[in-house]
């Protein structure tokens, strides 16, 4: 059972639709007991960092996610990925979950529009169980902030006037800056691999 963590924000149903489509047993829940019982966790998110962390706190989910993080695979998506880091500078400095060392900062790509919207190619950086060796894999991004972290935590970058961490990993903690649930077959494959961990 994969639990999609519901803290009142995010594109829960897109993620659920994708999991249903690939035949993964799943439920949307904000119940700490269900989160503890889950085989895998997905932390979605769309919106602003401080609001999302506040909602997570308000739902009493911060500590249970931190506690469960090392025990089972966890995937953060988009803002959910950014929340895995130590802190973010979006609208002032806010603490994140601290599951991957690093911070989240406003992107400053030279001469390119912000937000970074669209399909960008994954540039693999070491091995990761969620990725294949294939080249030319495009996934869908929509974001203005990006992770700043050591290369050892980055499984794939994409090039947007700067190297943007696209897929990050620290042990069983994974984060997709892109939306696997909106990235066509490549995205569904990434979700399939995560759900077979």
């Amino acid at each position: 059972m994969t639990v999609i963590i519901d803290y009142g924000a995010g594109n829960l149903f897109s993620v659920k639709n994708a999991l249903e489509h690939i035949g993964v047993q799943n439920e949307i829940s904000s119940d700490p007991e269900r989160i503890k019982a889950a085989d895998r966790l997905i932390l979605p998110g769309v919106g602003a960092f401080p609001d999302a962390m506040r909602m997570l706190d308000k739902a009493n989910l911060t500590s249970v996610i931190k506690e469960q993080a090392g025990k089972k695979p966890l995937m953060g998506i988009c803002l959910g990925m950014q929340m895995l880091f130590d802190k973010s500078s979006e609208f002032g400095l806010t603490d994140g979950l601290g599951l991957i060392p690093g911070s989240v900062e406003l992107m400053k790509p030279k001469g390119l529009p912000i937000p970074h919207i669209g399909w960008n190619e994954l540039e693999k950086n070491g091995s990761c169980p969620l990725l294949t060796e294939d080249k030319g894999e495009y996934v869908y991004f929509v974001h203005s902030f990006a992770a700043v972290t050591d290369s050892r935590y980055v499984a794939a970058y994409c090039d947007y006037g700067m190297k943007v961490p696209a897929l990050v990993q620290n042990g069983l903690v994974f984060g997709c800056q892109f939306h696997p649930e909106k990235s066509g077959e490549i995205g569904l494959d990434i979700l399939r691999r995560f759900n077979s961990l």
Partner: protein, 251 residues
């Protein structure tokens, strides 16, 4: 490197695709969910549903279309047409839309852009603009499907929508729309230069090379077309193959 996007648009009225689509196995009056699946199979980077339902009662149907499509198609979906309030936006997003496109309503009530961006994020808010060249060489913004000239300067308006928090602009040139002679290159250039958010070219695609032409001559991020794909004159795949052969990054 970021790929240039090819976006088919489906004009939907009362839950049916309006233009006489005739995809294999699909009825004359197209089923938008099936059309969206077909475009997805062709490699569409996003799909836009433009609701032209006239009656208020018929409005809910587009949400069913989005809901069904979102279970089968895993690329971004945009809903436009008749979005007047933040609640309209919320309903469309809840149904499975990833972005909202606002046009006339944004001109009449610019605060709608800001409210939408504040609540749902800039990435959700695409501002569609119908525009046409004025006698003095500038461009002005029209509303109500191009029927009313607001005498609002295009460049001023695009800067305003960016400032209000729009994440993207879909620029429809009424001068080239329907003429099929290619996208409006001078207008696109002027808008791309004026703002730092992605710009989608719309209106004028008539031939295979028109898409690559827009990407080569301007820094637009995406190109949108409706009838060309509806009538199956071109597939999304053909357009992408052409772009790829000219060195343009596509998915």
């Amino acid at each position: 490197m970021l790929a240039k996007r090819i976006i088919p648009c489906l004009d939907v009225r009362d839950g049916k695709v309006v233009k006489g689509v005739n995809f294999k196995g699909i009825k004359e009056v197209g089923d938008p969910v099936e059309c969206a699946c077909e475009y997805n199979a062709q490699g569409a980077d996003e799909i836009v549903f433009y609701d032209i339902t006239a009656s208020h009662e018929g409005r809910g149907v587009i949400l069913d279309v989005v809901r069904e499509t979102a279970k089968k198609v895993f690329v971004p979906l945009t809903v436009g047409g008749g979005i007047k309030t933040v609640d309209d936006m919320r309903n469309a997003l809840r149904a499975g839309a990833d972005k909202i496109s606002v046009n006339s309503q944004a001109v009449q009530n610019p605060q709608l852009i800001k409210d939408g961006a504040d609540i749902f994020g800039s990435q959700c808010i695409c501002v569609g603009i119908d525009t046409k060249k004025a006698p003095d060489g500038s461009w002005t913004v029209f509303i109500n499907g191009g029927r009313i000239d607001m005498h609002l300067d295009l460049i001023e308006w695009v800067k305003t929508v960016e400032r209000l928090g729009a994440g993207e602009i879909c620029l429809n040139s009424m001068d080239t729309d329907g003429v099929r002679g290619g996208f409006d290159i001078p207008m696109l250039k002027a808008v791309v230069q004026a703002v730092n958010i992605p710009v989608i070219a719309s209106g004028g695609a008539g031939q295979l090379g028109d898409f690559a032409d827009a990407f080569i001559k301007t820094d637009c991020s995406a190109a949108l077309a409706a009838s060309l794909f509806h009538f199956k004159e071109l597939t999304v795949k053909q357009v992408k193959d052409d772009c790829r052969s000219k060195g343009i990054p596509v998915r």
